[in-house]
Symmetry: C2
Subunit: 384 residues, 2 copies
């Protein structure tokens, strides 16, 4: 590629809107696509760049036939059409969705599952009807403990762990979470009608939980008087944890953990020695607010605060940056970022291996090369 | 073998006490031994003939050091020594213990797991302290839902499904079952001190449930306010079942199902044509009483009642027999037995494959050969 074609490309796209490098294919069928995290520019990820995590083919939903049923341990089961849902009072939530397997590619030893790097995560503005309002209308009966959300997507899983024949995607929420105001049945994503790949007509949005809880193509809500033990919370999306004085347990993955990711530099990036370089990234903390991000250049011995943008709020990530005076001496350099949340959680350096293939939230070192150069970094062409 | 040696053998052992053919080895280490079901003679299986199902090596328990602790969601945690438990008021229960994987060898297609035939089952008289009395002393707190029973046996399971490192055997009971009077902490088995292989010093005895619930070498009782999700009820000892309108669930194996087994004839036994032959066996039904056993000679089209011994009572099996006038024509013959319980359950002919490797309770056909013979059956040497 010539210098001329490069500048043409730059001219065609104003600052901050460079041609998008495209989603990374992690699986072709069903479609599992990753947001290239190094392309992070703004807090809201556009719909067409948002990561896609499917377990089954995207179901063909005919809007006029589709119904959402509300049943189980309730006084008054009922159903709603898409038009009826869209007419109900809606609320908006800005929320970061992270796949519970994001960053899995960094695990050693290697584990099974889609090999997500940094970009099975995104932040969007979701608008919809509070689940609490729907449950109130149905009348939750005494003794209810959970709410099962079932999607229209279905199929048979023939890899281990195998599914018991054809199953639908489904996950449950404990009742207190289900009736908290922030859980919504979203019909709108970043101001647009929910795209088919993101769950049209309705997707549950469960702020603060890993994305498997935000069930797409929602077709059924079932209130239960016993904890639900469906495939996606017993065979898949589980991890081992020791709680209190009990023997270790296999628990359904739930709340997100505090985590910072570095978008720039990318791994193996070559950076000019003895210059200024802006490190950038995002940090999120599930149900809590991100209160700080720190950077370490010495393997975690000392940490310097980064500039964290926006104001602390739960559920949504915060972008951050750090103005780095690069070393004068060429060579390899390890960068680390770690986040802290309002509950006092600090992103850990290590990981409990009992977590298996999920909840990969430990500090992820990035290795770059410092080289004596006169050329400026391309970052100078645009600002956050 | 000569006729002479046969009669010597018979002479040395009075009727009903023929030399015991020995337990069948299903696994050498840890020791997993099966009762040869064709040796069934009496309702109570002697301790030395009782099947043994171990997950880990038998723990070396020093009686003077051993303690049973009671803790968790209780008002007054406490511990008991072996001597203290033996001094408490005891109750007796006659109970059939069946391994949840009994009869697995008959499954097609073949499944993983120990290949038990008919004899991972036995009936014994257990004596011990009601768990309810122990829990009452500790004072169950409001909100308690389960009681976890933990054994002293432990190790790492390296076959799939792998354990998360070294674990102890543990299982939980729902609170209503745990506080029912019939669940006891047994110190005595058939009038003898509990043998080491059967859980010395204390084994929980959970009548009506498959044997994995009857935790051996009991060392800890933990009351919980959430359902317990330990290895032996999430990764192992589970099965798929559709309940109510919910998506299919992976449930912990629990209550035993109604089931009859034929002890005599054995599979492939040669039986004289046109003679009288006594078919014998046992039947059990978990938490319910066995009310009837029927025999079919025509593949399940018609059924004839068998003689069921003893009186109906829950938890314990009942022996049964059927006086069969064998066919005049030589050839292959299929025998079937099925049991019925007081709750109206009839042992089914087929099995839901979602049960995987557990709860093998469908009718098990036995194939024998009818042959023109003058010789009498060896059964004539003894009676039930």
């Amino acid at each position: 590629m010539t210098t001329e074609s490069q500048s043409q490309s730059a001219a065609a796209h104003p600052a901050g809107t460079r041609p998008f490098p495209g989603l990374i294919i992690r699986e072709k069928s069903p479609e599992n696509l990753e947001f290239p995290f190094s392309a992070l520019r703004e807090s809201i990820v556009p719909n067409e760049h948002f990561f896609i995590r499917n377990h089954f083919p995207v179901p063909q939903v005919v809007e006029s036939n589709w119904k959402l049923t509300v049943e189980g341990h309730v006084e008054r089961p009922f159903e709603l059409s898409y038009a009826e849902i869209c007419e109900l009072a809606s609320e908006e939530v800005t929320m970061t969705l992270e796949c519970a397997g994001n960053s899995r590619i960094f695990l050693e030893p290697k584990v099974a599952g889609l090999q997500w790097e940094q970009g099975a995560v995104g932040n969007a503005i979701w608008k919809g009807v509070p689940l609490a309002a729907i449950l109130e209308r149905a009348g939750i009966r005494k003794g209810a403990v959970e709410v099962v959300l079932e999607g229209a997507d279905n199929g048979e899983i023939t890899k281990e762990p195998k599914s018991p024949g054809k199953i639908h995607f489904a996950r449950s929420l404990p009742l207190p979470k289900a009736i908290s105001r922030e859980v919504i049945l979203a019909h709108t994503m970043n101001g647009e009608r929910l795209p088919p790949a993101h769950g049209f007509p309705i997707r549950a949005i469960v702020p603060g939980w890993y994305a498997m809880a935000s069930v797409k193509w929602l077709r059924r809500i079932v209130v239960t008087d016993k904890p639900f033990r469906g495939y996606f919370q017993t065979s898949d999306y589980t991890y081992w944890e020791r709680r209190e004085e009990l023997p270790i347990q296999l628990l359904p993955v739930g709340e997100m953990e505090v985590k910072a990711e570095i978008a720039r530099p990318a791994s193996r990036e070559v950076i000019p020695a003895d210059s200024f370089y802006k490190i950038r990234g995002a940090a999120w903390a599930g149900e809590f607010e991100v209160t700080g991000v720190e950077i370490s250049m010495d393997g975690g011995d000392t940490w310097e605060p980064a500039n964290v943008h926006g104001k602390p709020e739960p559920y949504a990530w915060r972008l951050w940056d750090y103005n780095w005076k690069t070393p004068a001496t060429p060579g390899s350099q390890i960068l680390m970022a770690r986040a802290t949340d309002a509950a006092g959680n600090i992103q850990p350096m290590d990981r409990d291996s009992h977590r298996g293939t999920y909840i990969v939230s430990q500090v992820q070192p990035i290795e770059v090369e410092i080289r004596a150069m006169t050329k400026k970094s391309p970052e100078d062409h645009y600002a956050i």
